[in-house]
């Protein structure tokens, strides 16, 4: 499988202060990778660094073989898309408008949607299962529906790589399962590479191909969810927050 993203001795943090030892990780096409760690462990910092919102303290991030920061903002907009925890809050923003905004990098000066662009928008809404919401106001949707709108936006952006920051944070159990299914669909059918983060030992983590586990001042550990549980990494890194039950379920469901 071809390589999408690779970090070399990447050091992340603020004001020259590294949060954790240097990171060497990579993402391949079609991977679903989970970035897990307790709150304050540097997940968001790593996310922002990988998505070019933040300069690395040291080392580099290579996206398709080229340094992330050597791309222009416009070029980056066609390489990776974001699904964030912050949501648009404008009262009259329609679902269609938000998803269409994801198409802007592909459009000309007047942002005129061609028939094929509209088709892509409707297809994406179909993929995440919210075609019926197309005319609704975004703020009137439930958290799960809003999450799907933002995923549809990322889809029409048509990037090989998708970053999802805490995608399951506000979702109820059925919505989480739906989200897992959507992620699998994107990875298997559309060959999308997905990196998502989670601050608790969510059911999502078990569906990742690879997990990156972080904790403050600890080196990043990677492996399949099962390996990490077996090696006791999960236990170590999540020690302060894992309850007995959660750990029991983690083990049981493997």
């Amino acid at each position: 499988m071809s390589e999408v993203l690779h970090t070399y001795q990447l050091s992340i943090g603020y004001k020259g202060q590294a949060l954790m030892p240097a990171i060497d990780v990579s993402l391949s096409e079609g991977d679903i990778v989970a970035l897990a760690g307790p709150n304050g462990s540097g997940k968001t910092t790593l996310f922002k660094t990988l998505s070019a919102s933040l300069k690395p303290v040291g080392g580099e991030v290579k996206l398709f073989g080229k340094d992330l920061r050597d791309y222009s903002p416009t070029e980056r907009s066609s390489l990776f898309s974001l699904v964030l925890t912050e949501k648009p809050d404008d009262l009259f923003l329609k679902v269609f408008d938000i998803v269409a905004a994801g198409r802007y990098p592909h459009l000309g000066l007047l942002a005129k949607l061609k028939a094929e662009d509209e088709q892509i928008i409707y297809d994406s809404l179909e993929t995440v299962g919210i075609s019926h919401l197309v005319n609704r106001n975004f703020v009137s949707l439930s958290d799960g529906e809003q999450q799907k709108v933002m995923i549809a936006k990322a889809l029409v952006q048509d990037t090989p790589l998708i970053f999802m920051d805490e995608p399951a944070a506000f979702l109820d159990y059925p919505s989480k399962i739906e989200l897992v299914n959507i992620m699998h669909k994107l990875s298997r059918e559309k060959k999308k590479t997905i990196l998502f983060s989670s601050h608790d030992l969510d059911l999502l983590l078990r569906h990742a191909d690879v997990m990156w586990v972080v904790a403050p001042q600890q080196p990043l550990c990677q492996g399949t969810p099962k390996e990490l549980v077996d090696q006791g990494v999960i236990d170590d890194y999540f020690k302060p927050i894992v309850t007995k039950e959660e750990f029991f379920w983690m083990n049981l469901e493997q």
Binding site: L82, E86, K87, P88, L91, F92, Y104, L109
Partner: protein
């Protein structure tokens, strides 16, 4: 689930073309009424004769030299201020943002205060409001407003957060305001009077000779704003989404501030600080069209701003008011209830939501 309870949010969008035609028709009617009504009443038949045949009746001067420039100034100011307000509301993601947010109108006031004090100090009477002095006040307001605009632009390149930028704007407004007060303190009565008159706002300060310049400048600012619609739409999603979709946040914020600030500075210089148009009109546009798409909102806001400004100007010159009411009090009187309504409506919507 919350999604089942919000029937009020699912109202159909009114047909865009129909609403647009209605807005334009209202604008044309208001424009004609602006020419027709005032302290001097003109019979309809003479009114049409003067307008269509341009005959040399006694009303010619009143209509063509006085009311026409005033009506055109009003509609241009309405367009510019409303579009400027929309840009501020979107940039700062704040429904109560308006063109004066960044202290640009305060800068204009400061400029005028300087001229007034200078007039007092040198013995020149600015208060006579002769053509020259009106123009002097305009120039002073222009310089003051642009000085603040440049300062804000310089600072915006150093500040990353929009909240800091708003705070800086408010602080600049305070500084300009207090210096204005100090200057006023040292001014003489006549100077103060002309300052107060300028502060009440007026659409009749733009002379026929200045009108083409004013019109072109407003058009440039408005078209410039329209060209930013893609960026504005993306900013609605939030800064990080916008950035990911190829928006250079700093450069875009500067362009938006430049477009909005240019319109505000220009109109404040010519008409004085006009309150509430820039705050209220974008809300009317959003509610009428049930949309946040700036490709639609910017033209809608422009034409609604034109309508509302013409309406306010008409009210200010109703025959019973014997001349002109201060335009600023009329815009506030009409604009404030609209803003109140928006606040309550938002509360209602958010109540349904959460």
């Amino acid at each position: 689930m919350a999604s089942d309870t919000d029937n009020t949010l699912r109202r159909k969008t009114p047909p865009i073309a129909l609403v647009s035609i209605a807005i334009l028709a209202v604008g044309i009617v208001l424009f004609v009424l602006n020419l027709r009504y005032g302290s001097v009443s003109i019979p309809w038949n003479e009114f049409w004769d003067t307008l269509l045949h341009g005959d040399t009746s006694t009303y010619r001067t009143i209509i063509l030299d006085y009311r026409l420039p005033q009506a055109i100034t009003a509609l241009l100011a309405g367009i510019g201020l409303s579009v400027s307000g929309l840009l501020m509301q979107t940039l700062f993601r704040n429904p109560l943002a308006d063109p004066s947010l960044l202290g640009i109108s305060s800068g204009a006031s400061l400029g005028v205060a300087f001229v007034v004090l200078l007039g007092t100090a040198t013995g020149l009477s600015v208060s006579t409001l002769s053509l020259w002095s009106t123009f002097g006040v305009t120039i002073a307001a222009f310089l003051g407003a642009f000085a603040v605009l440049l300062l804000i632009l310089a600072l915006s390149s150093r500040l990353r957060s929009m909240v800091s930028l708003v705070l800086v704007g408010i602080m600049i407004a305070y500084i300009a305001g207090s210096v204005t007060d100090i200057l006023k303190f040292f001014s003489q009565k006549e100077g103060l009077h002309s300052f107060v008159i300028w502060g009440l706002g007026s659409f009749s300060n733009v002379s026929k000779a200045q009108l083409p310049f004013f019109a072109i400048a407003v058009a440039v600012g408005t078209i410039g704003s329209f060209l930013l619609f893609k960026t504005l739409n993306l900013l609605l999603l939030g800064e990080r989404y916008a950035e990911n979709l190829g928006v250079n946040i700093r450069r875009s914020s500067m362009l938006i501030i430049l477009a909005s600030g240019f319109l505000t500075a220009l109109i404040t210089a010519f008409c004085g600080p006009i309150a509430f148009l820039g705050l209220a009109v974008p809300h009317i546009a959003r509610f009428l069209f049930r949309s946040s798409d700036h490709k639609l909102l910017i033209p809608a806001t422009a034409f609604l701003g034109m309508d509302l400004a013409l309406f306010c100007n008409l009210i200010a010159r109703l025959p019973s008011f014997e001349g002109n009411l201060p335009i600023n009090s009329v815009t506030a009187l009409i604009g404030a209830p609209i803003v109140l309504w928006v606040i309550f409506h938002r509360q209602k919507v958010s109540h349904i939501q959460w």
